[in-house]
Amino acid sequence: MLSVENINLHYGAAQALKSVSLAAEIGKVTCVMGRNGVGKTSTLRAIVGQHPISAGRIVWNGEDISKLAPHARARRGIAVVPQGREVFSLLSVKENLETGYACLPRKDRNIPEVIFELFPVLKSMLNRRGGDLSGGQQQQLAIARALVTRPKLLVLDEPTEGIQPSIIKDIGRAIEWLREQGDMAIVLVEQYFEFARDLADDFAVMDRGEVVLAGDRKDLDEEEVRKHLTV
């Protein structure tokens, strides 16, 4: 399991996270919520190693990974669907998916069929360049790409952004399915309250760089949360 313990994070001199703690367990979905600019993405960046933390530590399966390079974390089973998609725009859809091979042993280097079941549009566009896809298609590609690495910890930053309603439902079902497999921890950042509420086992609400509310599903007081989500 993942546990984020009292981390601080700075951009230059500006502090974006203040003593943030978070946990994510295998077989559960941890949902992080909060208004724009409160530090959700920053928290995820800290977990996957895209930005160094200035205090605290991050422990994954008993190992302190706070100092590890991003690729080393990926190789320990941490995959990310970043905000803004960040597909490799000049690589074809197929190649985008194949970048996930980097942390797989040679025998596992294939694209699981379930990915195309989830996002059929990708199958028909395997040879199109990632950057040419529509926004929603890119988002689907970004999720698929993360799944190729067979992660043990899946970190999703607003995965439903720009996606058509029917596929949002599919993604929801997919996340449920992944959870049910029971071998994966999922951290989900989501603004779309209903979507989050339906999926979350645990949740954390952030405000101004701090976690202001946390607990598991049954503790979730919708009013309280919504209060933090409005201005």
Binding site: V48, G49, Q50, A69, P70, H71, R73, A74, R75, A79, V80, P82, E86, F88, S89, L90, L91, E95, E98, T99, G100, Y101, A102, C103, L104, R129, G130, G131, D132, R145, T149
Partner: protein, 542 residues
């Protein structure tokens, strides 16, 4: 090389002749020739030439070694008594050989003999006359050379020996050349018109510039049927030469293109794929050339028989050395600069100054000698095209390197990861790609390829600390013209620029030709602002 070989063959031949002809008659001949030989040392070139002609007029093959030695600059005169010898360095000064008997004639000190000077005109005279003397030699190669010499001379005097030789000739190739030589000599003789008409036909069938100039001579000095026949043949040859001229331009263009390709292809990786404005690219090429030099130097000093393989030894070494320098540079400098591509310009410029000066301090500022192995020297004729081996192998080599690189980048995970890293380093890392490793290897690969380009370029250009500077601008032009990040673009770009250049050069001259090519590039980029093989669509703008 081949000259020395034929000299040996001749000496052998003459030796055999000498054994057979151990007769009183022969001895008398020698006595008669001796003063002529000694006269070679008297007077200036004009005088020497007269003596050579006199020797040849004797018609006795026994003078062949003398003439060969004279031609090669091995004929010396003993100051004390004016006797002429073939001399080779040895002992305290020179070992002397009697030029007529080829027997040992003792030694002489360095200051006791002086060389009989030859110049190009004398060599030509010797070649021509030797031709008629060696037309009947046993070795077909010697006969072939002899026939060619007679052809060049076009001297009607050669007609009779030629016809005699033709009677006995068994080798078809030699025969053909003899026929042609006979035709050439015949045209200058006073034989009948019908013979000459036939000769014109023979000459016309050769179809090259030598034939053309012969025929022009005929056209300008005869009348009637002969003149018409010559004129007709001339038109035909000129037409075919014009066609060959175009073929030649294309060949030259491809050849220049492959040099550009070699120079640019490493840059297509470090700059095109990685986005590093690599001003030190030229120096990586230079290092490859110096590796070749060092390899050849070692071979020359300790294993000369390996010389023909020197390039094969140099290639992997150059790749490794330039490649490791590349890796070191990436780890030491470039890696701090990702995301600041323009600053790589500054750092690599500094680096290029350092590398240049390092080579200058190590090897000195002057050119180093890098030789062409046997298989890279000389040329062969393809129709009316002269194809030099070094150019041909360089084309082949450039294409091989290109294909290999294409394979690595398109068909291996390494290639995919490289492209992923350069497009979005942060995301690539999060996909588990070891970005530092990939960066170092990619830069190493680009540099290594620059290094092996250096091995090839050492075969046609100066090997000096300035080598790299000469290619850097052209390399950037090629990569950009072809479209940054597209290897096919680099290939087609290099070839296009090469061919355009070579078609312009004959009309505009080398300087204007180059200017036009640059203007062409500028205009072309207006039409296609992202190069020849521009990537299109959203993906690019994103």
């Amino acid at each position: 090389m081949s000259l020395a070989r034929s000299l040996f063959a001749l000496l052998g031949l003459v030796f055999l002749l000498g054994v057979q002809g151990q007769s009183v008659q022969a001895q008398e001949n020698l006595d008669a020739l001796r003063p002529l030989v000694n006269n070679l040392a008297k007077g200036k070139y004009d005088e020497t030439q007269r003596q050579v002609e006199a020797l040849v007029a004797s018609g006795d093959p026994v003078v062949v070694p003398t003439l060969k030695a004279l031609r090669a600059g091995d004929l010396y005169v003993r100051k004390a008594d004016g006797e002429v010898f073939i001399a080779t360095k040895g002992g305290k000064g020179y070992l002397l050989i009697d030029p007529l008997t080829t027997e040992n004639a003792g030694e002489a000190g360095r200051r006791d003999v002086s060389k009989i000077k030859v110049n190009n005109r004398l060599r030509r005279v010797i070649d021509a006359s030797m031709g008629s003397l060696t037309l009947m030699a046993a070795d077909p190669k010697v006969r072939l050379a002899a026939a060619e010499a007679v052809f060049k001379a076009g001297d009607p005097e050669g007609l009779e020996p030629l016809e005699a030789a033709l009677q006995k000739e068994t080798d078809d190739d030699v025969r053909l050349v003899m026929e042609q030589a006979r035709a050439a000599a015949l045209l200058n003789s006073d034989r009948g018109d019908s013979d000459k008409l036939e000769a014109i036909e023979t000459i016309a069938s050769i179809g090259n510039r030598d034939a053309l100039s012969l025929l022009i001579g005929v056209r300008d000095s005869t009348e009637g049927a002969l003149q018409e026949a010559a004129a007709a043949a001339i038109t035909k040859i000129e037409k075919s030469l014009a066609m060959w001229g175009n073929a030649q331009n294309i060949w030259y263009g491809i050849s220049l293109g492959s040099v550009l390709l070699l120079a640019a292809i490493g840059l297509a990786i470090t700059f095109g794929v990685m986005g590093v404005i690599n001003m030190a690219h030229g120096e990586m090429v230079m290092i490859g050339a110096y590796v070749t030099f060092v390899v050849q130097e070692l071979i020359r000093n300790s294993a000369p028989w390996l010389f023909d393989y020197s390039l094969f030894i140099a290639l992997p070494l150059a790749f490794l050395i330039s490649g490791s320098i590349g890796v070191a540079v990436e780890r030491g400098i470039i890696r701090w600069l990702y995301g600041r591509p323009l600053e790589t310009l500054l750092a690599t410029w500094g680096l290029s100054l350092i590398l240049q000066q390092a080579i200058r301090s190590l090897f000195g500022p002057t050119n180093q000698q890098v030789g062409n192995p046997e298989w890279m020297s000389g040329a062969f004729e393809l129709g009316q095209l002269t194809i030099t081996y070094n150019r041909m192998w360089i084309i082949v080599f450039a294409l091989l390197v290109f294909a290999g690189l294409m394979l690595v980048l398109k068909k291996t995970p390494f290639g995919l990861f490289t492209r992923a890293v350069t497009q979005n380093r942060r995301m690539a890392a999060s996909m588990g790609i070891r970005t530092p490793w990939i960066d170092a290897l990619t830069f190493g690969l680009g540099s290594g390829i620059a290094g092996i380009a250096g091995v090839a370029l050492s075969q046609i250009d100066n090997v000096s600390p300035n080598l790299g500077q000469g290619y850097i601008i052209d390399s950037f032009m090629v990569v950009v013209f072809g479209g940054v990040g597209n290897l096919w673009g680099t290939l087609v770009g290099a070839m296009t620029l090469g061919v355009v250049n070579k078609f312009l050069e004959p009309y505009a001259g080398a300087v204007l030709g180059k200017i036009f090519v640059l203007v062409f590039i500028i205009l072309f980029i207006q039409k296609r602002p992202r190069g020849l093989f521009a990537l299109k669509g959203r993906a690019v703008e994103a």
